[in-house]
Symmetry: C2
Subunit: 332 residues, 2 copies
DNA sequence: ATCATCTATGCAACCGATTGCGTTGATATT
DNA sequence: AATATCAACGCAATCGGTTGCATAGATGAT
């Protein structure tokens, strides 16, 4: 068996509690005693049993990150992955572990998500907006959690961090006008999603007076995006620019438009939400509303740790987007 | 405070150990007593304290998945993400949690990875090939772990699960020949990576007798892939088909080739390793050597759990690839 | 009727830390 | 010199389960 705090104490000729104090730097311990204890730990190759510590301290030393990926493809969602990376960075710096859990495919019970909290496996939770409406949060009480994304509904006063979708959409609209596009359209996404609604709100709000807001929802697939884009072009007053809800949409629209003989960006401008790595390598490269996902994850994790330490009250944070201009919307 | 096993026992009028037995279904307990205990648990809204259980049982109930992402972009690596999704699925079905850890950006010490094991935070570890050479594994002893990917070096007898890269490359070569391409080239990747070496080995082995194996390494960027591809075309005997090491390479090569006036697939065939979701939406769509990443993750997790339960000895598994034929290599 | 078996449950040690309280000796205060 | 203060460390309870051993009662075998 591995050495325990008792073994170390015996070898160093002190009480286990003294070893514990050295380990945690709590009370005042003489240099001499510390030396002996460190030497003993070294000799026995001592490593803390974090489980025992958790039991005694009441803290698990882990946070849970919940996602709601319907399938492997959704999981691989760049947006989430990149945030997760940042979250892990922050957690590791804080000495915390990150436990991931998928709420979507739970075997008939999202209970296991709650159990992360109820069975004290984590000290805090990062949740996707979709889970906020669940019974889950009723049980949360004042358990520390932060929503990664603005919840559509749910109790007021929840902590969340999100990108400013309205601002991002407005940024794209302004860019379109600046480049001489006049008849804009929003394409892609699902009306029921809150972030889509907010983008459309920002898009509408930034339109010139008198403009008609065209919005074309899709089923989210690349194929449907292409189909819907062409359909939009086949109207009395076709748009000359598309703000694409996501990268799959942009890929589909771009492909279909080119195949139908439209020239991008000369005839039609394209801007996509989220600067997916490959956005720079399409033909032409896509102008993108950039979401700093690393920052998003970082802020979310930071806020969660502040909540865990009870240092702050609940709060909501929105991160501004920026525009990365590429060929797909360069007309001037 | 939340209810404990003692509270439940008192309310049910039994001994805590009896409650524990009911909880774990261990010994024989009368239906009558069970009823009383379940009722008490219900009434008190009892939830197991998994930390206490871990301490007593010596099992953490979690596995660790280590990755070595150098940056956020690498982390978002589809390949890894999709496997991770499958791993989480299997773990959740087994009642285990998944702790993720990034070995690359650890604050000056990969020690925190070891600590997952040494501090008993996890019962098993899924490691990337790169970590196998670390001092880490020296400390592993018989601690259960599985490498996700064939290690380049490291002690013999390690457990790993990987896709059969040689077979995949051979599959692509055979396909090229079947489609009438004659002068093949491998492009992309880094010579030092073991999986690249294995792909090239498979590629070479499948070439027709007398063929010259052309291999062009890149720095992994899309830009360099394009540059290198054009350079390859600008030789006395240019290739008429490229087997691309990864999707960024394929994107870069495709873009550069088209820009230089080459027609794909008529003049030049393209096959890419790994069926990245967007591979189907390039122009033309890319033929891909398909890696079943979900299966990869699933097998890896399964093997780990078998190792944890000491039910199997170490073993190595290779998954075969399949070819998804699309336009980029359709000449016939 | 006696003894072996078995079922159902209690008892208490244990897992490996943390921590409030108490004690001891040394230094500082007046 | 007597007392207050404080640094340094020991003691033992505690966190919430698990589990080997013991035991009482019920059942079965001979």
């Amino acid at each position: 068996m591995a050495a325990t705090i008792h073994d170390v104490a015996k070898l160093a000729g002190v009480n286990p509690s003294t070893v514990s104090r050295v380990l945690n730097g709590k009370a005042s311990i003489s240099e001499e005693t510390k030396e002996k204890i460190y030497a003993a730990m070294q000799q026995l190759d001592y490593h803390m049993n974090s489980v025992a510590r958790s039991l005694a301290s009441g803290l698990s030393g882990a946070i849970g990150v919940v996602m709601d990926a319907q399938d492997a493809n959704a999981f691989s969602n760049e947006y989430f992955s990149r945030s997760l990376f940042a979250i892990e960075q922050v957690a590791q710096a804080m000495g915390y572990n990150v436990i991931i859990a998928n709420s979507a495919k739970r075997a008939a019970n999202s209970a296991s998500i709650e159990d992360l909290m109820l069975e004290r496996k984590v000290d805090g939770l990062i949740l996707p907006p979709s889970t906020v409406k669940l019974a889950l949060l009723k049980k949360v009480g004042d358990f520390p959690y932060v929503v990664l994304g603005q919840p559509d509904i749910g109790k007021q006063g929840a902590s969340w961090v999100d990108v400013n979708n309205e601002q991002g959409a407005a940024l794209a609209v302004e860019h379109f006008y600046a480049q001489g596009y006049k008849h804009l359209a929003y394409i892609g996404g699902d009306e029921s999603a809150g972030f889509v609604k907010r983008r459309i709100k920002g898009y509408r709000g930034a339109l010139n007076a008198g403009s008609v807001a065209m919005v074309h929802f899709t089923d989210g697939t690349t194929e449907d995006a292409g189909y819907v884009a062409l359909e939009a072009m086949n109207t009395p007053e076709p748009p000359d620019a598309f703000l694409c809800n996501d990268n799959l949409t942009a890929f589909g629209a771009l492909k279909a438009l080119k195949a139908a003989g439209w020239r991008v960006p000369e005839q039609i401008g394209l801007v996509v939400f989220d600067n997916y790595p490959l956005a720079a390598y399409t033909d032409p490269p896509l102008t993108a509303v950039n979401v700093d996902t690393a920052m998003l994850g970082e802020e979310t994790a930071r806020l969660l740790f502040q909540r865990i330490e009870r240092r702050v009250t609940n709060r909501q944070t929105m991160l501004c987007t920026s525009l990365i201009e590429r060929e797909s919307s360069r007309r001037m």
